[in-house]
């Protein structure tokens, strides 16, 4: 078995470094609709319903829901140590940026290649937001 490693440029929004297993969501995420103690998504009908965001590198299109609940949601995950290690998104908006700054979760966008093509759930991903680099280590 041989592991394949790819490093891609990205655009830093919230700095820092985080690494972990990739978790892909094609749908927007509202962090208020996760279990604040476990990080398990409890939004009915969400493609990640029942999966945990804890300590993952989360790849998703964008955030959703009102500012108060989104910020409170990610903050509670972070206070319980079950926030994602880093977040890679396609479209940012102010509420998601504020949430990431408050929860201290590195946030990047504009990967030089479409993250939904390059990264798959289960890959190991290192996000160096400060240097604007994402490294993907394929799982097999």
């Amino acid at each position: 078995m041989r592991s394949l490693e790819v490093t891609l440029k990205c655009h830093k929004i919230v700095g820092g470094y985080g690494e972990g297993e990739a978790l892909i969501s094609h749908e927007p995420i509202c962090f208020y609709l996760t279990n604040p103690k476990t990080g398990i998504i409890r939004e009915k009908g969400h493609e990640l319903e029942g999966k945990s965001v804890a300590n993952k590198v989360l790849i998703f299109p964008s955030g959703k829901a009102s500012s108060v609940v989104q910020i409170d949601g990610l903050f509670k995950l972070a206070s319980n140590g079950v926030a994602p290690k880093a977040m890679i998104v396609k479209d940012v908006e102010t509420v998601l940026i504020v949430s990431a700054v408050i929860a201290n979760v590195p946030l990047v966008d504009r990967l030089e290649k479409d993250p939904f093509h390059i990264i798959h759930t289960g890959d190991f991903v290192k996000v160096n937001a400060d240097e604007g680099k994402v490294t993907v280590i394929k799982s097999s």
Partner: protein
């Protein structure tokens, strides 16, 4: 984003951890939207919420020695003295709101505890660059006043108030303030509630955008515009709008679109308003309380409640609440409206939002309100949404419909 030497030093922590964190937030937003620089603002409004995320950030600023560089007002939490004297509220439930209030005082915010500061304590002028969060506040200052703000989150507006600056992007540029959707109003807009229905319907249709309203022939009142602003941000996210002839920034429809064509057009007739009302009004039957003032009622609206209750008595099984600003409550007291409402059995309360732990005694109750926003964030179980005069009538009769 380009930073001045002073801004770099703030980001390096030379002015303390509070200012560093505020600057980190502004830089993240600026980078995300490709802003070239920060620009000075003259004032801000922070939509403080009295929740844990809010508490964490404002306490971090306070402990880190930050204080507001420009006047920054605060959103309502709840009037602790008033509610603690009539309801059992546990120390645990009261802890977060109490700490939030203390921290905002420490950072020298203006403790307005009001969601409509733009008509009382914090009024920008035309063309001012500001940072206003809160659903009705952002579109009101952009559209009605012609000041310039992006659709801020509570903490980004607060960070801007701390630093006295905001990243230059979005609605700070004239070219981004042009209309996206043409809304032809054929409905007859008679009262404040018709503007509520209009805002709700349009936001549901367009989601995000800058609507340009035509066909409104009569000068809208302050209260009608406040309702329109709030509801445009209940099922949607509308940072500004134009009503050529009445709002300040575009005199004609052509000006409002800056010569471009609308992305889309919608027409609103009496039928759409009627259907919207039927969709949101809720079932008939027993109700337990009336909750008014989301957004905070103006002095004029408090007077109207007093007038509608004159010579009447609220049903004994019923609770009746009017949320307003501290300024309006003071004047309502001076003018006798407060005693009229209290004599009928109602409460007028300042500093209070409908989405706070103080309302927990109503968690299994059915409430009537004139505000879909109140119904959306409600702390009671079932909601009926209808006109103010119907709410008052229901409160007197003890049932709805």
């Amino acid at each position: 984003m380009y930073l001045t030497k002073e801004e770099e030093r703030i980001l390096d922590g030379e002015f303390g951890e509070g200012m560093r964190k505020a600057m980190e937030l502004l830089v993240a937003i600026g980078d995300a939207y490709d802003a070239e620089k920060l620009i000075p603002i003259t004032r801000a409004h922070a939509a403080s919420s009295g929740q844990e995320g809010d508490m964490y950030f404002v306490e971090l600023l306070a402990k880190g020695g930050a204080s507001c560089r420009v006047p920054t007002t605060t959103n309502p939490v709840y009037d602790m003295e008033y509610f603690h004297s009539i309801f059992e509220i546990s120390e645990e439930e009261a802890e977060v709101p109490r700490r939030v209030k203390k921290a905002y005082k420490q950072i020298d915010a203006i403790l307005s505890w009001s969601c409509t500061p733009y008509i009382t304590e914090n009024i920008p002028l035309y063309g001012e660059h500001v940072a206003f969060s809160e659903s009705s506040a952002t579109p009101y200052v952009n559209s009605v006043i012609g000041a310039r703000t992006n659709r801020e989150a509570a903490q980004s507006a607060l960070a801007a108030g701390i630093i006295g600056k905001t990243p230059e992007y979005g609605l700070h540029f004239k070219e981004n303030r042009k209309g996206t959707h043409l809304v032809k109003v054929e409905a007859d807009l008679k009262d404040e509630f018709d503007y509520t229905l209009l805002g709700y319907y349009v936001a549901k249709q367009i989601g995000y955008g800058i609507p340009v309203f035509t066909g409104i022939s009569k000068q809208p009142s302050t209260e009608q515009l406040i309702n329109l602003c709030a509801m445009l941000n209940t099922p949607g996210a509308v940072p500004m709008f134009h009503i050529p002839g009445f709002t300040v920034e575009a005199k004609t429809v052509k000006d409002a679109f800056q010569g471009d064509v609308p992305e889309d057009k919608i027409t609103v007739t009496d039928d759409e308003l009627k259907r919207t009302y039927e969709e949101i009004r809720g079932a008939s039957g027993k109700i337990d309380l009336v909750m008014l003032g989301c957004p905070h009622y103006t002095l004029k609206q408090v007077e109207e409640v007093a007038r509608l209750l004159r010579g009447k008595k609220i049903h004994r099984d019923f609770s009746f609440w009017v949320c307003t600003s501290a300024t309006a409550k003071l004047l309502a007291e001076r003018n006798g409206y407060l005693s009229e409402i209290e004599r009928a059995g109602g409460h007028v309360v300042a500093d209070t939002c409908i989405d706070e732990p103080c309302w927990h005694p109503y968690k299994d109750k059915t409430g009537a309100t004139d505000s879909p926003k109140c119904a959306y964030y409600r702390r009671f179980k079932e909601a009926v949404i209808t006109r103010l005069k119907d709410c008052v009538e229901a409160a007197v009769k003890g049932e709805w419909g």
